[in-house]
């Protein structure tokens, strides 16, 4: 999942970014409104964590630009202003959620998870994929009938999570790359395929059936049946 973090106070930005990365998110950072708008250009962002008081274009300006886009990312506003008026102004401007500084990092992470789930229309924090269960909060995959856990690396989990969120849809390689690894560089053509190969081996072995299917020329799809 790809998060754009817009915060002008560098130490705070660093901490949040690190926390998000440790939870497997791909994080783009911006220190002001202009940089934020530039980062949004790629169109792959799932969630924007947005400070209101920014130099240059302020949070509301960025929010307006986000809302003008099709397939707009979810927006979580961070602000030091805590009056009801401020909250209403933020939500009215189109923010999906609102968090007042200072906040618990745990709460920020929970809200980030919730907003991303909502964006992919996933209602529950646990997803059933064939015989497997994916726990989005604990970031693990297991088989409930025999209690065995599928041990995945962080990259493998991220890719599997993304596929699970878009279960039943064909997902292109570049989408997978952008939402799970990111970076400005274009993916090496076979990096995604290598990860998928590793993932498929573990998942299919644990599930006892094929779950990740290849759509030649298009990408991959996660589905219980062909």
């Amino acid at each position: 999942m790809r998060v754009l973090l817009v915060e002008d106070f560098r130490p705070l930005r660093n901490s949040i970014a690190q926390a998000l990365r440790e939870l497997g998110y791909v994080v783009d950072e911006a220190g002001d409104g202009r940089a934020a708008l530039w980062s949004l250009g790629s169109g792959q962002t799932d969630l924007v964590v947005l400070d209101i008081m920014l130099p240059g274009v302020d949070g509301f300006g960025v929010l307006k630009a986000i809302r003008a886009k099709s397939n707009a990312p979810a927006v979580l506003m961070l602000t030091a202003k805590d009056t009801v008026d401020d909250r209403v102004a933020g939500l009215d401007a189109g923010a999906d959620d609102y968090l007042v500084k200072p906040f618990a990092l745990e709460e920020l992470m929970a809200r980030v998870r919730a907003l991303i789930r909502r964006r992919y229309q996933v209602d529950s924090a646990t997803l059933r994929i064939g015989p497997l269960i994916m726990d989005l909060n604990a970031r693990r995959v297991y088989r409930p009938d025999n209690g065995s856990e599928v041990l995945l690396s962080a990259s493998e989990y991220s890719i599997f999570e993304y596929l699970a969120m878009r279960k039943g849809q064909v997902v292109s390689r570049s989408d997978i790359w952008d939402h799970t690894h990111g970076g400005d560089s274009a993916p090496e053509s076979n990096v995604v395929d290598v990860f998928i190969g590793l993932l498929r081996k573990k998942i299919d072995a644990a599930a006892g059936c094929r779950l990740i299917h290849t759509r030649r020329g298009l990408g991959y799809v996660l589905a219980e049946t062909e």
């Binding site: 002008d8 106070f9 560098r10 130490p11 705070l12 660093n14 901490s15 949040i16 690190q18 926390a19 440790e22 220190g31 002001d32 008081m53 130099p55 240059g56 961070l78 030091a80 202003k81 805590d82 007042v100 500084k101 200072p102 906040f103 618990a104 990092l105 745990e106 920020l108």
Partner: protein, 505 residues
């Protein structure tokens, strides 16, 4: 007890009216009393004259009241008195009116031939007035003449002696010597009950008292009512003030419907409200600024601490995180200190005109020494043009705060290898201190913003140096408290100059 304007004014007006009416009433009463009494006395004297004319004397000196038809005819309007007594000049009774039932009237020697009035009680207890006069047989013209002369008599019988009245007794006495030898003289007293007179004077008195009291009460009520009406605007203003307090402070008390006398009060109140509103707005802006500026580093400290604790980490990573935490803490400490400095400066009133003697040149040199190492390491050139003899009429502490912050600002924003230039000069009524530095990135249209609280150059906050965004706001406030002015100028070549104009010694 609460002081009520309405009650006070009503009482004092009513008191004034009561005193005025009392004086009027008493004057009226005394005037009428005298008029009535003198009429009464005149009538008594006339009756006496009538009685004297009606006396019949026989050759032995006995006397009785004759039916003198001539006298009756002449004085048809009057009847003979009912109570009278006649004595010899030595007090031997000659005749007592039958109505007196043998109870003698009071005998007294009148001082003169003009007669004397005295207040007595008749035998039946009724109050009466008695007129005593010395007379002689056949001198009725004299008496009558006297009666007309004696126009004004005090009812208590004290004769107000006119020039004519004073002369008369001596004439009479001169004549009297011959007459007394002939036993022609006698004393006559006539009394008349004053019941009617007293009754009418009593009723007059009571009418006046009742009328005056009623008038006082009525006017007090009218004044009370009028004051109520007159003071109504005060109540309205009070309501307005309550309304203003209840709603937000941007409301003003309307002057419409307020009498001219109260307009200055309303105006002053409105000015006061304006000042309070301004203060509140500043306070609110300040609180919002504090909220933002303190919450962000707080959030950062919390986030980095929670992040550090979220999982086991390498010692080097802990070191890095703690270092970052400490940097934020230092930033916040600096911010809080600056904030308190600014708050203290803002709370202080402007200095009263006092004589201070501060030496800015010395202070600038001291700070230059302090920062020498840093300036050298960044290869910054420091050009000082100081005049030691120029003193500033400002407290040292304020001047030091201003110079330190403006100096810090220059050091913070000058580019590496750039120049800081500090000038001093005397310009008419000011000592001018100029702090210039190169490397400014302040856009030309935003130069006037640099003194605003928490204003920073575009991306200044993203690099966590010691910028609180308060330095120049502190400078402006400190200079303002000294009674000086600040000014800013940007020039081509990235020159950014802050100019302090301070009062000279």
């Amino acid at each position: 007890m609460k002081y009520s304007l309405r009650i006070q004014l009503t009482l004092s007006c009513a008191l004034a009216i009561a005193i005025l009416l009392a004086i009027l009433g008493i004057t009226l009463y005394v005037g009428l009393y005298q008029a009535f009494a003198s009429r009464f006395d005149l009538s008594l004297r006339t009756r006496t004259a009538l009685l004297i004319s009606a006396l019949d004397w026989d050759s032995r000196g006995n006397v009785h009241v004759g039916s003198d038809s001539a006298a009756q005819d002449r004085q048809s309007a009057l009847t003979l008195p009912r109570f009278y007594e006649i004595w010899t000049p030595h007090g031997r009774p000659l005749l007592l009116a039958p109505e007196l039932n043998h109870r003698s009237l009071q005998f007294l020697q009148p001082h003169s031939f003009t007669g004397q009035f005295v207040k007595i009680h008749l035998a039946d207890g009724h109050a009466a007035r008695e007129f005593v006069i010395r007379s002689s047989r056949g001198d009725r013209e004299d008496i009558e003449h006297d009666g007309h002369q004696q126009g004004h008599q005090d009812p208590r019988g004290n004769t107000r002696q006119s020039q004519a009245a004073e002369r008369r007794p001596s004439d009479a006495a001169k004549n009297g010597i011959n007459r007394s030898s002939n036993h022609r003289q006698f004393m006559i007293a006539v009394a008349r009950p004053t019941g009617e007179l007293d009754a009418s004077l009593d009723s007059l008195q009571w009418s006046l008292i009742i009328a005056c009291s009623a008038a006082t009460l009525l006017s007090a009520w009218i004044i009370w009512w009028l004051l109520g009406r007159g003071l109504r605007p005060v109540g309205i203003i009070a309501e307005e003030i309550t309304r203003v307090g209840v709603n937000d402070l941007s409301d003003r008390i309307s002057v419409g419907g307020v009498p001219v006398e109260l307009i200055p009060i309303v105006d002053r109140l409105n000015q006061l409200l304006q000042r309070i509103e301004d203060a509140m707005r500043r306070e609110k802006a300040m609180t919002a600024d504090i909220a933002h500026e303190l919450r962000t580093p707080l959030a950062s400290m919390r986030a980095s601490a929670e992040l550090a604790l979220s999982r086991p980490r390498d010692p080097t990573e802990y070191q890095r995180m703690i270092g970052e935490f400490l940097a934020v803490e230092l930033h916040m400490q600096h911010l809080v200190e600056n904030f308190l400095t600014l708050a203290r400066l803002e709370a202080k009133p402007k200095l009263a005109q006092r004589e201070y003697r501060s030496q800015p040149a010395e202070m600038i040199r001291r700070y230059a020494d302090e920062w020498q190492g840093l300036l050298q390491s960044r290869q910054i050139r420091l050009e000082l043009q100081l005049i030691d003899s120029l003193g500033v009429n400002a407290p040292e502490e304020l001047l030091r705060i201003a110079i330190r912050n403006v100096f810090e600002n220059a050091v913070s924003y000058v580019d590496d290898g750039g120049t800081i230039r500090i000038n001093m000069r005397r310009e008419s009524a000011h000592v001018i201190l100029e702090f210039g530095n190169t490397g400014s990135r302040v856009p030309h249209d935003q130069t006037s913003m640099v003194f605003e609280r928490f204003w920073r150059g575009d991306t200044a906050r993203s690099d966590l140096t010691r910028h609180s965004g308060l330095g120049l706001a502190i400078v402006r406030q400190a200079v303002d408290n000294c009674g000086g002015m600040v000014d800013v100028e940007t020039q081509v070549g990235g020159w950014f100059t802050i100019r302090l104009s301070l009062p000279p010694v």
